[in-house]
Symmetry: C2
Subunit: 159 residues, 2 copies
DNA sequence: TACGATGGACAATGTGGTTGTCGAAACAGT
DNA sequence: ACTGTTTCGACAACCACATTGTCCATCGTA
């Protein structure tokens, strides 16, 4: 053993741990949502619903918020609409626009997600202690470039 | 202002921050790789190359390591081979098997990635301080279920 | 009014994943 | 030595999620 013990972790472990943390939260969320009446909800849909919020947006605007093309956003809306989570309504003021709005089912899923996320954060807090968790959040906020804080999540899951 | 200041963050912010941290590292890695002679390298390929390592594996084994089907792994190998990062060689001991091996170019990319990851971790350490970064890593290790520490990364990027 | 920018639809394509099927090779049990 | 079972790799069909490019209707403005 000519080498001294390594106290620092390898650089490549950091993204792996971040990803694993993210995935464990998202997987747990969707397992919970599936049990509570939303088995068809996929991770990408959650991000889209979060991005359209309570007021509704146009597909183009949704694309901008998610960081994807308007076409991609439109397709996501198609799927969301087919599942009954969103609907398109004509815009009275602009005949080009169609506003995408969450249905009551969509709003329910959104509220449920928020609940589950609080519960999951609580689980982390129980493991780490509230103070340590807050430090992790502070640290992440400090290193993440502001632009990267968007809501886009691509296909990132494998669910 | 009837509400007291909220000191806790919302639960839904945690996955978002983890994802943003992950993405910022991966995006920076690939920007750097592109500049250093590997513009075609996509994030998913990096995970696959990491998983095959220096010895080489079969496509089936690669699928197992990545947590995907052997067919999916085989397709990734196809693309990696088309780009010159990997090659298939017949297995002398088993005529069914074809070992997938990194080419010198693949090994170069792998070594370069490791370098860049160290550099990126150094950047985080400079921002946070070495101690705080280590605490974040410790915390993540503590909350992430052991099984989730695999190398699978799906399509997660949007590159 | 004519022009440019915008919104949404459609098509073709790429990437990464899934099942299912299949033949060839390896292997274990009789 | 023969016979089933398992494994490997290949192929096909399909799905989810993204891309670019094109097109037309509409809106706002010079």
């Amino acid at each position: 053993m000519s080498e001294p013990a390594r106290t620092e972790r390898w650089g490549f472990e950091l993204p792996l741990m971040l990803l694993a943390g993210f995935r464990s939260l998202i997987d747990a969320l969707h397992a919970e949502l599936a049990e509570r009446g939303h088995p068809d909800l996929r991770p990408a849909y959650g991000f889209a619903m979060q991005a359209m919020g309570r007021e509704g947006v146009t597909a183009s605007e949704l694309g901008r918020r998610l960081g994807v093309s308007k076409q991609a956003a439109g397709k996501t809306v198609d799927r969301l609409a087919a599942l009954g989570y969103a609907e398109r309504v004509d815009d009275a003021a602009d005949a080009r626009r169609k506003r995408v709005r969450l249905t009551p089912r969509g709003l329910d899923a959104l509220a449920l997600s928020a609940e589950v996320f609080e519960e999951l954060r609580g689980r982390w807090a129980a493991t780490l202690g509230a103070e340590r968790l807050r430090e992790v959040e502070d640290a992440l906020e400090a290193v993440v470039p502001p632009g990267a804080y968007r809501l886009d999540a691509g296909s990132w899951f494998g669910g």
